[in-house]
């Protein structure tokens, strides 16, 4: 007996270890949902504010709604199609059955990115515009295989003679199926549904490629937040979902459904009924709430619309509401994460956006490829508020100021942790070349984008960051390879949170993040400060501007939108939210003196000598940059 229990102990110990492994990240999220600071690593006291914020956040609530609706409907449809198909496939001959099952496996085994992109290509080829329905079709497509795979084995176990016997006894085929076959395969059907629901809930990549304007699920919303730091209200939502599912699970599993040892079958039958009722009520409640809110959202049709395509976190949301109230135009607002991701969407025309906010070089590319409409500046009287300096700067990518209106601008520079510099006796960085100083080994966060990484290398070599010269580019590539052992990680917007968290001593960052960083450092009472320098060699001066795509359907509304954003009070609101430098002189004049003098955000023009704006270099040169960058990354 003794030996047995020792073995049992080890078995239990192993189980507990695995459970800790599985649930450690989830516990982390739950703890973070009660954390008073936005920091992922620092505990700032207990709070419930993220829960309150979550319920007030319309974007999160809509995404939750979409996620549940898509998961439920796609799982249901997939279960019906899949169950019916399983019966059909089961009675196919050997070869056709093998072929069908082979093709059935494809969506499961194919990488999600290929599934997502291939579906997007197909929708465009079929002329189906991307939207809610395309996401639904895609989810059904990757869900059916899971249903078939869980129904088929059950179907094989059923005795086909019982079905024939039922028919002989006078049952019709349908009746025979529901009375005899179906009860046997119910467990398979249910687990197929559950699996489909789970897969749909967890999918990100396929949704990302097949969704259209204004459709966000929790996954796509989270993805757009990953870059700039997850909002704790997302952890709050996850915690709630987790607890809800856990409670339902405990109710259904620990209400005894088999006769208890005293054999009181009456009691267990009641328990079984209660259990079923709880499940049924819970699912009906979810369906009703989701269904009604979705219906009410989509049943209102608007004739006067505006499709806006913007960066994540790049507008104060109250500005959108204010615009809708003042003009009566309904805004459908959508997000992209990179210029490169936005471009094919506009080019393919799967969604007709009316107004988009790309960066300098991308505007040049879009204009050169005929994707942009000329703006009618008569409709934008507030253009006077934009400092002529930035209109002049825009000429480097929009030579006649015909296509774009500047929205934000900034520089790229070096951020460093003052305390770590002092403690480790490291020199304060002043130029790009310092990023090659071996004393910073493992302490550098580099930008994970081709142009920004090459900009750093090219500038440190004294070349133009728009270089098309192959030898210069090769030199820059070698320089980046030399730097790689010193780099801790290549990141994009995460550099902000990592630097605040003290993960690294030095990072390449966009100037617009500085206000947020300074506020967070103060809010979290950190014992260090983070300072920003514009490197001596000169840097990238970037401008993000509003443009109107050539295929826009509501061009005048788009011009009203641009005009509205140029109004000083609105520009001020957006500046306070985004914290990226504004080109709006009206808004600048409304700022505190302290902000006006903040050199990270509004640098002295003398510090910008040698700085350049990115140009579009053509597809071929872009291709060279990309393949050189791949060489760096694969070292």
């Amino acid at each position: 007996m003794k030996r047995y229990s020792l073995k049992q102990f080890f078995q239990d110990f192993y189980l507990v270890l695995i459970l800790i492994f599985l649930y450690a990240p989830i516990m982390t999220m739950m703890v973070l949902s009660f954390n008073n600071t936005k920091s992922r690593t620092l505990w700032g006291g207990f709070t419930l504010k993220w829960y309150a914020e979550m319920f007030q956040n319309q974007a999160i609530m809509n995404a939750l709604n979409n996620t549940l609706l898509i998961a439920f409907v796609s799982a249901l449809v997939a279960t019906i199609i899949g169950t019916i198909a399983s019966i059909g496939i089961n009675s196919l001959n050997r070869l056709p059955r093998a072929i069908v099952m082979g093709v059935n496996n494809i969506p499961m085994l194919n990488s999600d990115i290929v599934t997502g992109i291939s579906l997007m290509l197909a929708f465009i080829a079929f002329g189906i515009s991307l939207g809610f329905k395309t996401v639904l079709i895609s989810h059904i497509t990757f869900n059916i295989p899971y249903v078939i795979l869980s129904v088929m084995p059950k179907l094989k176990q059923t005795n086909r003679y019982t079905y024939e016997a039922a028919m002989d006894l006078g049952a019709g085929p349908l009746q025979a199926f529901f009375k005899v076959v179906f009860p046997d395969i119910v467990p398979g059907v249910l687990s197929g549904f559950l699996m489909a629901f789970t897969m749909s809930l967890d999918d990100f990549i396929v949704t990302h490629f097949t969704r259209g304007a204004g459709i966000d699920t929790l996954s796509t919303l989270i993805y757009s937040e990953v870059r700039r730091g997850i909002k704790p209200s997302m952890y709050a939502l996850s915690t709630l979902i987790f607890l809800t599912v856990l409670v339902l699970l405990l109710i259904t599993n620990f209400a005894p459904d088999k006769p208890a040892s005293d054999g009181n079958s009456q009691k267990s039958e009641t328990a079984g009924r209660i259990k079923k009722a709880v499940l049924a009520i819970a699912s009906i409640a979810i369906i009703l709430v989701v269904g009604i809110s979705t219906y009410s959202r989509y049943s209102v049709t608007h004739s006067n619309e505006l499709y806006v395509y913007n960066w994540g976190e790049y507008i104060d949301e109250s500005v959108i509401e204010e615009f809708e109230e003042e003009t009566g135009i309904k805004v459908i607002y959508d997000l992209f994460e990179t210029n490169e991701e936005m471009y094919p969407v506009i080019e393919a025309g799967a969604v007709n956006y009316d107004v988009v906010c790309p960066s300098d070089y991308m505007i040049q590319k879009m204009a050169e490829n005929g994707l942009l409409a000329e703006i009618n500046f008569d409709n934008i009287p507030n253009i006077d508020q934009i400092d002529p300096l930035y209109m002049e700067m825009s000429k480097s990518f929009d030579p006649e100021n015909r296509y774009s209106v500047p929205y934000t601008w900034g520089t790229v520079g070096i951020l460093y942790n003052t305390k770590m510099m002092e403690e480790k006796g490291l020199p304060i960085p002043t130029k790009w070349e310092d990023l090659w100083n071996p004393v910073y080994e493992g302490e550098i966060l580099m930008q994970d984008s081709v142009r920004d990484a090459f900009m750093v290398a090219l500038k440190s070599l004294g070349y133009s960051m728009n270089s098309e010269n192959e030898t210069e580019l090769q030199e820059a590539k070698q320089k980046l390879i030399d730097q790689k052992p010193l780099v801790q990680a290549y990141v994009i917007d995460q550099v902000r949170d990592k630097m605040i968290g003290g993960e690294a001593a030095i990072g390449v960052i966009y100037s617009g993040e500085m206000l947020y960083i300074q506020e967070e450092v103060a809010a979290q009472n950190l014992d260090y400060s983070l300072e920003y320098v514009i490197p001596e060699e000169g840097t990238n001066l970037w401008i993000d501007s509003w443009v109107i795509p050539a295929n826009a359907k509501n061009k005048e509304n788009a011009e009203k939108w641009i005009d509205f954003l140029c109004r000083p009070d609105i520009a001020l609101k957006n500046f306070e939210y985004i914290t990226y430098s504004t080109p709006n002189k009206g808004a600048f004049e409304l700022l505190d003196e302290e902000l006006q003098n903040n050199e990270a955000i509004f640098p002295d023009p003398d510090d910008l000598t040698g700085s350049e704006v990115y140009h579009y270099l053509g597809d071929d040169v872009d291709g060279i940059y990309n393949s050189l960058w791949k060489e760096v990354k694969s070292q």
Partner: protein, 274 residues
């Protein structure tokens, strides 16, 4: 027979669906993979797997996903055995315990690992309090393997457990009665009888691990380029869909190999996860 052919028709709607949304989209990828920007036929996209960057990324992906698959298998087999022997897995509870984490978003879970593993992360915080040396695996291949094992472990545990649950107790008792020791029972009973589940689990872990790009981005600090990252970058950043499609075609070879493996060892589709 008439009834049987009527039943066959039931497969019809799905076959049409499959042609529309699985086969045609796949053919589009093949088309893109075998043409260049001007639309002319070329093998260059597929052959570019031979360039040093691409083949290095492919071999690295193969290596990391093989290691992850092996770790998943080594963790899952004793786990499934324990669950079955102890009878804990009865009902749907066990299945739920393993898929419950999947109801929390995949990106959030992976990011949570970042929080746990970082230099100033939770684990190092705990180790620090205990005066133990910290760990430094974030932004290394080890962190990527951990992320893969974490995300795909349920896909290995569940099929193995489901197959094991069907093993008759009498078979095991018979082996013992005939004098087999624990090890012999393992080799001659447990492993052969769980083979369909093992094969299915290997597939369900290996293929997604081979093609992932999110895990290597979040836990590898983007310093480690996997083939999934290359493809993702061609589609989203490089805007070269032809090259991306061509490389995807190369990956499909591995998927075809997996399908052949399943067809060989899991004829009856027993090794399903659920």
């Amino acid at each position: 027979m008439g009834m049987k052919s009527a039943k066959r028709l039931l497969a019809g709607p799905y076959i049409i669906w499959m042609i529309g949304f699985t086969v045609i989209p796949l053919l589009l990828i093949v088309f893109y993979g075998l043409t260049d920007r001007s639309g002319a036929f070329t093998l260059a996209n597929v052959l570019s797997i031979g360039t040093p960057e691409h083949s290095k990324a492919l071999f690295l992906s193969l290596g990391l996903s093989l290691i992850s698959t092996l770790i998943c298998l080594l963790l899952s087999f004793p786990l499934a055995m324990t669950l079955r022997k102890r009878g804990i897995g009865q009902g749907s509870f066990m299945v739920f315990i393993f898929i419950l984490p999947m109801w929390m978003n995949f990106l959030l879970r992976t990011l949570a690992w970042q929080t746990l593993l970082e230099k100033n992360g939770v684990i190092n915080g705990i180790l620090n309090v205990l005066h133990l040396p910290g760990i430094a695996i974030i932004n290394t291949p080890a962190a990527i393997i951990l992320g893969m094992v974490y995300n795909f472990l349920p896909f290995m545990v569940l099929p193995i457990y489901n197959v094991m649950a069907k093993i008759d107790d009498n078979t095991i008792n018979a082996a013992k009665d005939l004098g087999a020791n624990e090890f012999q029972t393992l080799i001659h009973i447990w492993i052969p009888l769980s083979l369909p589940g093992i094969i299915s689990g290997i597939n369900m872990v290996f293929v997604p691990a081979l093609t992932t790009f999110v895990i290597s981005n979040l836990l590898g600090g983007s310093k480690i380029l996997l083939i999934g990252n290359v493809i993702e970058q061609e589609f989203t950043k490089g805007s070269n869909w032809h090259l991306g499609s061509g490389l995807s075609l190369v990956l499909m070879i591995f998927i075809l190999l997996s399908m052949a493996l399943i067809a060989k060892y899991d004829k009856d589709g027993e090794g399903t996860a659920f």
